[in-house]
């Protein structure tokens, strides 16, 4: 029987937890990852929901996974393959469509057909956003310094940040200041006149937030999604072979090769505290594991309000974590299909099926979808980001059959009246009816559908509130405020207890940055 004594215990075998453990093992530490479920992956899992039909159950595209993690953990050798997801098509109510292809000339021709002015603005906008993302990117790799602190480390960090800000041009600084405060609608209206273009772009600014495109702060989320684009040459954007579970399978394989032990069906009950330090964990089955350090890769609420008795934290910290906004706003409908849906706007099998299909005809549409959510209802006409994974990786469905992944917003965690089977069915029906408007033959092809609400994300993946980023990417929940002021450096008020997941800086999106940086900080503190 394995010894229950480790150098480090990581709670949660999502990508961040396993990445952190892998880095710790690389540094020679004996690390174990404890996973509540019977499978690894967290919210990055592939499951065969219907026999023969495999789904990236929650997270479904890869764009932000840090290139240095891919290199350091040799993920390609462990099976990581990121397949192209080359386009986005927005079907329109008038039967036409707006496409963004993966070719500059084709995209320009396409936008030009709707608006010559926007076709040119689009080029410039893309460059400006890429430059802003490039400018802000070094901050992502930085352990956030606390501006209120006079410690040497924080002062050094602030100095570095100041020097970096100084190195940017005035234009870049203004741009960034605007981007972090503006609404995505305001930003996009400065650039474009085409409704579907604005709607589709704005949609990426509301993903995972409980905000609408007209809410201030959403422009930053839009930028967050642009980060992946600057690694374009590295090709980090796409659909993982075997679904998003393919990413965590590669990470798990790499971690195991480095000596990490991964235990599944090992739910953590409590972090054991001895002498004011985290000293191990007690499992739900009664087993106890001891270690020098414990790191949680669960969400902030679970990590600080459930695993650890609150007496070990200052009240202020507990309050900050309580106030941390984790309200889920997105749902997912995974559909097994006996054939390929035919979209009226681009009939037949074509490039549309190999990319994303965005139901976002205008900012107005997306904002109205939010209006429903604001008053506690799921959107009657939701924003959707649809992909057909089986067109990208044929192993996702039986030959000739397909799987369709529909990311849907808004689906409030605390929907009025609560989520019961009737409400879930109605939500699923809304999604099907929405797709049916653009692909009328879909209904007859449905072999099965899985409806996921934020409640299900919470129940299955264990993310409190069911927010896909473990907490919204709002300005007041970012950088040195994520997850709580003074505790954004992956340490916590409890000595020996660390925190490295999407609820920490720099946020979610299957990035892995939090897990990696947390491991680095653990190693810096190692004595």
């Amino acid at each position: 029987m394995a010894s229950n004594t480790y150098d480090a215990i990581v709670i949660g075998a999502g990508h961040n937890g396993m990445i952190a453990a892998a880095y710790l093992a690389r540094a020679g530490k004996k690390a174990v990852v404890l996973e509540r479920r019977e499978i690894v992956g967290g919210a990055a899992v592939t499951e065969e929901i219907f026999p023969g039909y495999r789904f990236s159950e929650f997270s479904y595209v890869v764009s932000l996974l840090r290139p240095e993690i891919i290199r350091d953990l040799e993920l390609p050798r462990h099976g990581l393959k990121i397949l192209p997801l080359p386009s986005t098509v927005t079907p329109l109510d008038n039967g036409d469509y707006l496409a963004g292809w993966d070719d500059h000339d084709l995209t320009r021709r396409e936008i030009y057909r709707h608006s010559p002015r926007d076709a040119e603005a689009y080029d410039e906008y893309s460059r400006v956003m890429a430059r802003a993302a490039k400018a802000i990117k070094p901050i992502i790799g930085l352990v956030p310094p606390d501006p209120s602190s006079l410690s040497w480390r924080d002062m050094k960090g602030l100095l570095k940040l100041g020097q970096y800000a100084h190195s940017l041009s005035e234009h870049e600084l203004y741009r960034i200041a605007k981007l972090v405060t503006q609404s995505s609608a305001d930003l996009l209206e400065e650039w474009f006149e085409l409704d579907p273009l604005k709607g589709t772009k704005a949609a990426s600014g509301i993903i995972g937030t409980y905000l609408g495109p007209r809410s201030p702060g959403t422009a930053y989320v839009l930028l967050h999604h642009y980060m992946g684009e600057i690694d374009g040459a590295f090709r980090a954007w796409g659909f993982a072979k075997n679904g998003t579970g393919g990413v965590t399978a590669a990470i798990a394989s790499s971690a195991r090769a480095l000596g990490v032990e991964i235990r599944t069906s090992a739910a953590v009950d409590k972090v054991i505290v001895r002498g004011g330090r985290a000293a191990g964990v007690a499992l739900a089955n009664g087993d106890e594991l001891t270690a020098k350090v414990v790191m949680s890769a669960a969400d902030p609420k679970r990590s600080f309000l459930q695993f650890v008795d609150q007496q070990h934290f200052p009240d202020e910290f507990v309050q900050a974590i309580r106030d941390f906004r984790v309200r889920g706003s997105s749902g997912k409908v995974n559909i097994a299909l006996s054939g390929l849906p035919d979209f009226t706007c681009l009939p037949g099998e074509g490039p549309l099926h190999r990319g994303a299909i965005s139901i976002s005809p205008s900012i107005e549409y997306v904002e109205r979808a939010y209006d429903d959510a604001k008053y506690g209802n799921f959107s009657r006409q939701p924003y959707m980001d649809i992909i057909i994974p089986s067109m990208i990786d044929r192993d996702m469905a039986p030959p000739g059959h397909h799987v369709m992944s529909c990311f849907v917003q808004y689906a409030p965690y605390d929907v009025a009246g609560g989520w019961d089977d009737t409400k879930k069915e109605a939500f699923g029906e809304t999604v099907i009816a929405t797709i049916e408007k653009y692909a009328p033959n879909i209904r007859g092809m449905i072999v099965g559908k899985q409806v996921i609400t934020p409640r299900d994300i919470e129940r299955i993946a264990g993310i409190t509130g069911g927010n896909i980023f473990h907490g919204e990417l709002l300005l007041h929940q970012l950088f040195f405020m994520r997850p709580a002021p003074q505790w954004a450096d992956f340490r916590t008020p409890l000595a020996g207890y660390y925190f490295g997941a999407a609820g920490a800086h720099p946020g979610g999106g299957v990035m892995g940055a939090a897990g990696k940086m947390a491991a680095n900080e653990i190693l810096k503190d190692w004595q």
């Binding site: 054939g339 037949g348 099998e349």
Partner: protein, 408 residues
């Protein structure tokens, strides 16, 4: 359930020019290139020799329809172009053509093209990249109408010593009196055209602008008129060799538009690109980039694009060392090659080509001050049998090739 059949969507492909029905029939090697979102013939033959020599000895017929074209009209049309470009547009006569670049506020080139004064209040502007947004931004408060003509207007370039003879046969009005960088209206096969004495080869040549609907009729008329004078459909690869000989540069190859640049160092000013002659600092009023260009004019540029002739003896020596005669690429090379003075890199070549008419290996090079003075001896990197060597070369003024009949 029946399988969906794969459908080829007409919009999911590059545009075809109005001459596609002819050019696609003639493009023997299926050598297509991209140009302005269109497919353009790279070469019609398997090699470039015949097309290149058509430019220099007969007449080459080149489809230049992918050029971006605008019509700028209205009471403030001249004002807009005067503000946009560093040239004195108010002094331009009707029928005159100016070549010019245009800059951003920092005096760095955004694009380059020709401005033709069609009438007192109407101009045609050509560009490599779309400029509608930039034009609109500069036209605020002006009474001016900007119309893009790119797809409605087809264009052919007829370049080479026989081009005038052929046009005289094909056109209703003779073109003998049409001077260099002038434009006149004419008719070919009964169809209205405008003919400008311009081109991208540095030879005698004309560009013919027409309604896209008339494209094929005019192509056929020119081919028929030119048959006995060696008219040769020519692709953009042969033109690429000729334009280097003529010292003409290309966006995205020899310079990066300031609006595309990732970093400041990627931008170029008109002075740096050898377009100082187009910058008229004496002209009245403001134009975009004026202050930055005045400063650069005063303080001097840190580098300049000039010509480079590579010593044949040096190439021979490097190749002889491995037992081979010098090897020459079959077309112009678009790729950065370092230029040295001793161990120090002082610049780079952006396009290099063998010049069949000069029998020299030449390059457009970007050299730091003071190494761009004509006569300066430098060394260019050559890769000889997978090994990097240096070969001596001499800085020369542009153009490399300037036949007397070009402007006559």
């Amino acid at each position: 359930m029946p399988e969906l059949s794969t459908v080829h969507h007409p919009l999911y492909q590059l545009r075809r020019t109005p001459f596609h029905a002819r050019t696609s029939q003639l493009c023997l090697p299926h050598n297509w290139r991209r140009w302005g979102g269109c497919i353009a013939v790279g070469s019609y033959d398997l090699g470039l020799d015949r097309e290149y020599w058509a430019i220099r000895n007969h007449a080459a017929l080149i489809d230049i329809s992918p050029l971006i074209k605008y019509e700028i009209g209205g009471p403030d049309a001249a004002r807009l172009l005067h503000r946009l470009t560093p040239r004195d547009i108010h002094r331009m006569q009707v029928g005159q053509v100016y070549y010019t670049g245009w800059c951003d506020d920092d005096g760095k080139l955004l694009d380059d093209g020709t401005v033709t004064r069609i009438g007192e209040k109407s101009f045609r502007l050509t560009a490599a990249e779309p400029q509608y947004r930039w034009l609109s931004m500069n036209a605020v408060g002006m009474q001016v109408q900007v119309t893009e003509l790119t797809e409605q207007m087809a264009a052919l370039s007829l370049q080479g010593p026989k081009s005038r003879t052929i046009l005289n046969l094909a056109c209703e009005q003779p073109v003998d009196s049409l001077k260099y960088f002038r434009m006149a209206f004419n008719r070919i096969a009964g169809k209205a055209v405008s003919v400008s004495r311009t081109g991208y080869t540095g030879d005698l040549g004309y560009e013919i602008w027409m309604d896209a609907a008339d494209a094929l009729v005019i192509w056929d008329a020119l081919m028929a008129a030119g048959h006995d004078y060696g008219i040769t459909p020519t692709g953009i690869l042969a033109m690429d060799m000729a334009r280097v000989e003529a010292g003409l540069f290309m966006l995205d190859v020899d310079y990066t538009s300031a609006s595309h640049a990732w970093i400041a160092g990627q931008r170029s000013s008109p002075y740096e690109m050898g377009l100082g002659w187009t910058v008229n600092l004496d002209k009245q009023g403001y134009f975009v980039g004026r202050r930055a260009l005045e400063r650069e004019h005063r303080e001097g540029s840190s580098w300049k694009m000039v010509g480079l002739e590579i010593d044949w003896e040096g190439l021979e020596r490097e190749y002889a060392a491995v037992g081979m005669p010098p090897q020459i690429p079959a077309s112009a090379v678009r790729g950065s090659i370092p230029i040295y003075t001793g161990p120090r890199q002082v610049g780079y070549a952006s396009t290099s080509t063998w010049s069949p008419v000069l029998k020299k290996y030449i390059a457009l090079v970007h050299l730091q001050q003071p190494f761009h003075a004509p006569g300066t001896r430098v060394e260019i990197e050559v890769t000889v049998e997978h090994h990097r060597r240096k070969s001596p070369a001499t800085v020369v003024a542009l153009p490399f090739y300037d036949p007397e009949w070009k402007k006559k």
